[in-house]
């Protein structure tokens, strides 16, 4: 799957309450493209089978 085109990203940003100009949309898209490999690796990575699916474990780690 490729990153959505600038028009789609601009529409999404507008729907979410952000008014950003075309230049920012292009920069935003470039940043998303730049991290897409790392994010794709994470999407494909299996979750650990020991309950780590709940992000609350991340906060609990800091309270023990």
């Amino acid at each position: 799957m490729s990153v959505p085109d600038p028009a789609e990203l601009a529409a999404l940003a507008a729907r979410l309450g952000y008014r950003i100009d075309d230049e920012v949309v292009l920069a935003l898209r470039a940043a998303v493209v730049g991290t897409e490999d790392a994010v794709a690796r994470l999407r494909a990575r299996p979750l650990p089978a020991d309950g780590a699916a709940d992000p609350a474990h991340g906060d609990a780690w800091l309270r023990r």
Partner: protein, 465 residues
């Protein structure tokens, strides 16, 4: 007196060879000179500081000094000081412009209740996430080389401490913003465990990754400051009860096990930085520590995934100002806008990854008390474009700077940056001691022993001597 760290100042006050009024006057004069050379200060708190210094003199005279009585400190300008505006380095920092803060942040209040004296609001990159050239206040130059940046985002705080204007300052750290400018300015900077220090009264950027931390000239000062700053305040929901904080007093590290991971930590890392890490390890081993195996297999993913968390949270926090982004630093907009379009499933997967990274750290900490890694891959970035040079090759700032620091922000683990010497270009290099959560004492212990056996933290920039 500019050569004295906070502990040195306290010793001088106790011996009667110096008093807080003279020290504050000296700090204010040095701040003025440092600002003229470096552009490090947003506001000087002179009247407020002088009044506090008079009170400190009275307390020393009456034999009732508090733990940090009369120690001047700087405050990054994302942290509230009562009666003083908090600009966050921006034209757009609130709906009421430069209105003064009604109350001080918990961290400022705690230092002041311990007798320390706030003398300045220090320059920050815009909202602690912008580039080296914030539109409102401009770049902060590095005391070691005025053609370089002091680093960020706690940029003015580090420059002022390195310039020997103040012994210490408060910064914030979301991807390395205490540790990186500390590294590039030859200082000792502590990013504590997430939640160890309350963030009440701090302009927020990312609730998952952000901490307040001290920027100091020695590990012993960082220890004194952290002891005062830590503990819940009843207002920050991420700040809860803590275990005790006891830094061993001995100068021997017998029984301390250190892991020195490679992989992502050293793949993009200048030879001078790697030599500094090796030097730190050698000194710790000479003091009795043992090197043991330990790797963090997913460390390379910490930077992009950590930024995804930071920028998504930052975009959420800044949506309220979305109609004013045209007045933001364009670097801020470019960085945080990507967070607008992060799918919820990716953000939550990133938080799950945070747990996986924590478990990788658990595996290391099962056999070691500390990780020793570079703080950052290079010496300070060049101005105006902020590029860094690694083994003769130039890299963009954001591709390099947080490679070793974001791990601590994403997981919440504490890290102490300590200077390890000077590179051939004459600028400082730094290594980081990473500990398990709430084991800051172990990192501070090793850092203090290293500094007792070496003198890198005592070396001042040529412009400050």
């Amino acid at each position: 007196m500019s050569d004295l760290d906070a502990v040195g100042l306290l010793d001088a006050y106790a011996a009667g060879t110096l008093d807080p009024v003279d020290a504050v006057d000296d700090a204010l004069a040095r701040l003025a000179a440092a600002h003229e050379a470096l552009n490090c200060t947003i506001r000087v708190l002179d009247d407020r500081a002088r009044a506090a210094a008079e009170e400190s003199v009275r307390r020393w005279a009456s034999g009732t000094p508090r733990p940090l009585e009369g120690v001047p400190f700087g405050v990054k300008d994302v942290i509230d000081v009562a009666g003083v505006p908090t600009t966050a380095g921006s034209w757009c920092h609130g709906l009421d412009g430069d209105a003064p803060a009604a109350t001080s942040a918990t961290v400022v209040r705690r230092l002041e209740e311990a007798g320390a004296i706030a003398v300045s609001k220090d320059a920050t990159t815009e909202f602690a996430v912008g580039g080296p050239h914030p539109p409102r206040f401009g770049a902060v130059r590095n005391p070691w080389d005025h053609e370089r940046w002091a680093g960020g985002s706690s940029t003015g705080s580090a420059a002022a401490v390195a310039a020997r204007a103040v012994p210490c300052a408060l910064g914030t750290d979301v991807g390395g913003s205490v540790r990186l400018p500390s590294a590039w300015c030859g200082l000792t900077g502590l990013k504590p465990t997430a939640g160890a220090i309350p963030r009440t009264g701090v302009f927020p950027l990312s609730w998952t990754t952000e901490t307040v931390g001290p920027i100091a000239r020695s590990a012993r000062d960082a220890e004194r400051l952290f002891a005062v700053l830590r503990g819940p305040d009843g207002a920050d929901p991420r700040s809860g009860p803590l275990p005790s904080f006891d830094v061993p007093e001995g100068g021997h590290l017998t029984g301390l096990r250190i892991a020195v991971p490679g992989g992502a930590f050293t793949e993009l890392c200048d030879a001078a930085v790697r030599a500094g890490v090796a030097h730190l390890v050698d000194v710790l081993v000479a003091a009795g520590a043992e090197v043991v195996p330990g790797e963090v297999p997913s460390a390379a993913e910490a930077l992009p995934i950590g930024y995804q968390v930071v920028f998504t949270e930052a975009a959420t926090l800044h949506r309220v100002d979305a109609d004013r982004w045209d007045r933001y630093d364009p670097v801020v907009v470019r960085r945080i806008s990507q967070g607008i379009v992060t799918p919820a499933v990716d953000y939550l997967r990133a938080l799950q990854f945070r747990v996986e990274l924590q478990r990788e750290l658990d595996a290391v900490f099962a056999g070691a008390e500390l990780l020793v890694v570079p703080t950052c891959p290079s010496t300070a970035p060049r101005l105006p474009d902020g590029t860094v040079v690694v083994d003769g090759e130039e890299f963009p700032l954001y591709a390099a700077q947080s490679r070793s620091t974001m791990l601590g922000n994403l997981t919440g683990a504490p890290g102490l940056a300590v200077p390890t010497g000077l590179a051939p270009d004459g600028c400082p290099v730094s290594a980081q001691l990473v500990a398990a959560p709430h084991r800051e004492a172990t990192a501070l212990w090793a850092g203090r022993v290293f500094q007792e056996r070496t003198g890198h933290h005592l070396v001042a920039p040529p412009s400050a001597t």
